[in-house]
């Protein structure tokens, strides 16, 4: 039986192999994704993001368990950083999700960023589609531990959950651009620690200043993931957001945006491959470097020539 059919039937060995092929950019992966595409779009995609050590993995573990209690199946993609020097990685998110390994209705995959800087890996989108086509009701995407500006998740998930913890900084951090702007829900985890209430207040004040708030007012939920406190309420809020997305038309809007982004990225990738291939095969500008260095030519004219010759 072929891989695509096995993925459709939820065969875990097949799902895992296809994700590997997508990560390695194997041509079979694109062919399989093309075939699986009509089976995608059924899963509800939830992004979990926040700084390193804020408890994203533990929170994900507890959220998945609660969703399983409600009878739904869950795929999880957990991204951790790859070394910029060796390309190696330690993917440690699974440690917090050990109990889920043996649950038939759960599939967890760890991915290294492999050079991507936006908090996800290049193949994350493919992995999401594969889990979606395999029939999982929910797909959780846990980003790398983020700083301030790794916001790719908001273009990837239907619902983005931003996790904060006490002790990271003052209220100026909360009004900065970037990660604090992308939350559909905010979680203050480790809420038994000193300063949790202050974080809740600062987040609340940040949200009050938001001028372009739509009909959805992002809730702030306190949790202690390690003891499961606040988890039931958080799942309720996540589902509430899904209902809001579906009823307001926002879900369609977000998914259309995602498809446009995806197509743009695929085009850019193909164009980049074409240009770099052309340049390496002909030493395209090698001869012109001296002339540019001596100011006889400039980079802008050379760029115009390269683009004209390669693309038009």
């Amino acid at each position: 039986m072929d891989l695509v059919q096995q993925v459709r039937e939820g065969n875990k060995v097949a799902i895992a192999r296809l994700i590997t092929k997508a990560e390695n950019e194997a041509p079979e992966a694109t062919a399989a994704l093309r075939e699986l595409y009509p089976d995608t779009g059924r899963a509800y995609l939830i992004g979990i993001t926040g700084p390193p050590g804020s408890g994203k993995s533990t929170l994900t573990d507890k959220l998945v368990k609660e969703i399983r209690k409600r009878g739904k199946t869950v795929g999880v993609i957990a991204v951790d950083p790859s070394s910029p020097f060796t390309g190696g990685a330690i993917l440690g998110d699974r440690i917090r999700m050990s109990d889920l390994s043996l649950d038939d209705g759960v599939f967890i995959r760890s991915m290294g960023t492999r050079g991507s800087l936006g908090g996800l890996s290049k193949a994350t989108h493919d992995a999401i589609k594969i889990l979606d086509a395999a029939g999982f009701d929910y797909v959780f995407i846990e980003t790398v531990g983020v700083g301030q500006s790794e916001v790719d998740i908001v273009k990837t998930a239907d619902t983005t959950v931003v996790v904060s913890v006490p002790g990271l900084g003052d209220d100026i951090q909360a009004i900065k651009a970037g990660i604090m702007e992308i939350g559909d829900l905010f979680v203050v985890n480790k809420a038994d620690k000193d300063g949790a209430e202050k974080v809740v207040i600062e987040l609340g004040q940040m949200l009050e200043l938001n001028q372009n708030m739509g009909d959805w007012y992002p809730p702030i939920v306190k949790t202690i993931a390690s003891t499961n406190e606040g988890i039931v309420g958080l799942v309720d809020k996540i589902n509430e957001h899904l209902n809001y997305l579906a009823n307001s038309g926002e879900l369609i809007k977000r998914r259309k945006e995602r498809i446009s982004n995806e197509i743009l990225n695929l085009i850019l990738k193909r164009v980049t491959t074409k240009i770099t291939g052309k340049l390496s095969e002909e030493n395209f500008w090698e001869n012109e470097l001296d002339e540019i260095l001596n100011k006889l030519k400039n980079p802008y004219d050379v760029t115009d020539r390269v683009v004209d010759e390669v693309l038009l």
Binding site: K12, V13, I15, A16, R17, I19, T20, E23, N24, E25, S82, S83, T86, G87, G88, A89, I90, L91, G92, R94, I95, R96, S98, S101, L102, F107, I108, R109, S110, G112, R114
Partner: protein
């Protein structure tokens, strides 16, 4: 780009000493492998489920409790049952020389004992993983 080698570093059974597992995980990382670390006290069933979902090329088990004779062969057997027996299984830890032939007989490709430089298992993996 060559396909990346993925390795599951697993701690089966009840011993809580994972210094060795962490040292080897770090060395594998520096060799350019993607290392998935399972954490402590994993059952063979959990290790096999993780190995399948992560689609690793190598399952590396660290064991200091003396239960290697039971747990390592069980992982090999379960991998086979689940249709994932294409993975290279290796072991490390405090394992008496006399026990090694039986482990190899059971399908553990190689066993690395205390004092082995980390370069040895790294080379072994690079040589034996079919990419």
């Amino acid at each position: 780009m060559a396909d990346k080698i993925r390795v599951l570093v697993a701690k089966p059974g009840l011993d809580g000493h994972d210094r060795g597992a962490k040292v080897i995980a770090r060395a594998f990382r520096d060799a350019g492998f993607e290392v998935i670390y399972t954490g402590l006290r994993q059952t063979p069933e959990q290790i096999v489920a993780a190995a399948i979902q992560e689609d690793v090329d190598v399952v590396a088990m660290s064991l200091l409790s003396g239960a290697h004779g039971t747990l390592m062969p069980k992982v090999v057997k379960l991998l086979k049952e689940k249709g994932a027996d294409d993975k290279l299984v290796i072991g490390g830890g405090v394992i008496p020389d006399d026990d090694i032939p039986a482990l190899k007989e059971a399908g553990v490709a190689e066993v690395f004992t205390p004092g082995t430089p980390t370069s040895v298992p790294i080379e072994f993996i690079k040589t034996h993983v079919k990419k």
